[in-house]
């Protein structure tokens, strides 16, 4: 193998690669999708009830309710806006406070509140919002809490908020998109256009071609992974170790991509395989999002050994000793896929 020739081929991929849609997509898609996922799942499956508020009198109620972790508050400028927001489900409950609301409450005068309820809101959300409102009103009225509430927290697993449950999915996307798709599509395109034949008949070996394509996948995957993790404020913990894990993950993704590209003859089949493999690759991340699914199932999928070390470092500040077993398996998986790609390279004189 000539590193010089690998460099020549890598240079060609780097310079002319951006003309390929997949190259651009692999950079942009993981970023976009990670933002979308956080938005969709973080908001939908999050536990907060939502209150919309129009405050015509500068009441203390707004500040009191906002202090509550169970309720998120959105302020609107008019009754119509509030009604529209409630109708389309932007909030569970919409409340309009009349002028001098606080004064009326303190004077124990009968006060009218206009409330809109989104028909599809859950009972519990209505109850929580109502409780938050009445609690705030009691505070405005000067009523002391009639009971003393003591929290007794029993042992158990640490809860995983939705932002953290999404992290595996977010970590995997650059690996799948950039790491494997770019080399795979590049190789299959070269086969379709017969340019791989031309390369194979030059001093360059198929192994060198595969390595160049794989390197591009690694580079794109690593860059995108770092960007995505940073955007999601997850590039924390031992940075050097995390970088090392991301690098190994990128190598794994790229080796899968090269293997796919080496084995598959046309884009239609590649597209079909990607459709099907997507589930296999994303399975550990999907399992993680739904704790009711037995989590050991995730270990059956190879990408588990990429995301688990990342999560351990990022969320639990793990060091090398904690992630060593998974890294060992990952190294093994990389070795197997690289060996398979090497075998295809030696057998692939008939590209």
């Amino acid at each position: 193998m000539s590193l010089r020739r690998v460099g020549v081929l890598f240079g060609k991929e780097f310079i002319h690669g951006p003309k390929n849609y997949m190259f651009i997509l692999s950079l942009v898609a993981p970023l976009l999708l990670s933002l979308l996922l956080s938005l969709v799942f973080g908001t939908y499956f999050g536990g907060k009830s939502r209150l919309g508020l129009v405050d015509q009198g500068g009441s203390q109620l707004r500040g009191l309710v906002q202090k509550n972790e169970a309720v998120s508050v959105r302020i609107y400028g008019s009754l119509q806006e509030l009604r529209d927001a409630s109708a389309r489900g932007s909030v569970d409950v919409g409340l309009m406070l009349p002028p001098q609301f606080d004064q009326h409450i303190r004077s124990n005068d009968q006060t009218k509140m206009t409330v809109y309820v989104w028909g599809e809101s859950r009972l519990r959300d209505r109850l929580v919002v109502a409780s938050a409102i009445t609690h705030a009103v009691h505070q405005i009225a000067g009523h002391e809490l009639p009971v003393e509430i003591v929290q007794d927290v029993l042992g158990g697993e640490t809860s995983i908020p939705w932002e953290k449950r999404l992290l595996p999915m977010i970590v995997l996307m650059p690996l799948v998109f950039a790491g494997s798709l770019v080399p795979a599509t590049s190789l299959v395109t070269e086969k379709t256009k017969h340019t791989l034949t031309a390369l194979a008949a030059s001093p360059a070996t198929l192994g060198e071609v595969y390595m160049a394509k794989g390197l591009i996948g690694v580079l794109l995957s690593l860059v995108t992974s770092i960007m995505v993790l940073s955007l999601n404020r997850a590039f924390i913990g031992e940075s050097a170790l995390l970088l090392g894990v991301l690098l190994m993950g990128s190598v794994f993704g790229a080796s899968i991509g090269v293997l796919l590209g080496a084995a598959i003859k046309d884009i239609n089949t590649l597209f079909a395989v990607i459709k099907g493999m997507g589930l296999l690759l994303y399975a550990p991340a999907l399992i993680r999002m739904f704790p009711q699914v037995p989590q050991w199932i995730a270990r059956l999928f190879p990408t588990y050994y990429v995301i688990q070390p990342v999560l351990e470092i990022s969320q639990n500040n793990a060091g090398w000793s904690e992630i060593a077993p998974e890294m060992g398996v990952l190294v093994g998986l990389i070795a197997v896929s690289l060996l398979a790609a090497a075998r295809m390279a030696t057998r692939g004189g008939e590209a």
């Binding site: 060609k12 031309a198 008949a201 001093p203 004189g349």
Partner: protein
Amino acid sequence: MAPEAIVAQDLTYNYGNLVAVDHVSFSVADNQIIGFLGPNGAGKSTVVKMLSGQLRPKAGKATVLGVDVARWPKRVQAQAGICFEITNLYEEMTAVDNLNLFARLFSVNGFDAEALLNRVGLGGRGHDLVSRYSKGMKQRLMVARALLNRPKILFLDEPTNGLDPVSAEAIRNIILEERERGATIFLTTHDMMEADKLSDRVAFINQGRIAAIDTPLALKQKYGKRSLKAQVMGSDGRLKSREVALDEASTPEAVSELFSKEQVVTLHSEEATLEDIFIRITGRGLV
């Protein structure tokens, strides 16, 4: 005796149950042009692929420039130039970029892409995207790519197929120039005139086997028959063709009969073409 650039012994290749090349043996002397002539599907491209290291023979052996090509394909490819049957250029790159890429892969020092493009008649178009090239231009670029490492042996797989006469003639001139430079050229074609014009030796290949191999002249002498071809006026007022073999004992009588019994409109002698010989030997045409 001139050293042999190519020696093939019992070369065999099959695609599944289809035997594409069936125990083919031949040799090519250094600095010679050999034309492999045969119809589509005869096995010409498969032979080229085996000799150029793209395919490993299922049986038999081939040495190119003294190297066992099955064992050391890259050593052969480093000294070879290949013009493929199918156009396989990077269309999203310019011609210069295409050539520079391969020049770097071949470690050609001081490579001048523009000069080579001028040589093949693409001067001034080097910085255009290949996707904008015509078929003839792409083929010239393919030939240029095959020449960039000043190869000792050139494999040209149907280099003028589908080209206009001007482009085809340009490529033939390049082939002759390369021979002058000292390269050995392995040319496949189903254009018998091209084979006749360019080749020092011609091999007829049909259904994976070599039916005959010799110089064009020798083949014509051995298998070809001269004849007189005449057009005569028929009783219905239409021209009809008549042919009289020229090297037979009965030739004088046949010629006399032709002139006495027919109204001869045109008359010319013709020697056998390679296609005629091919048909005679194999029983089928070149297309």
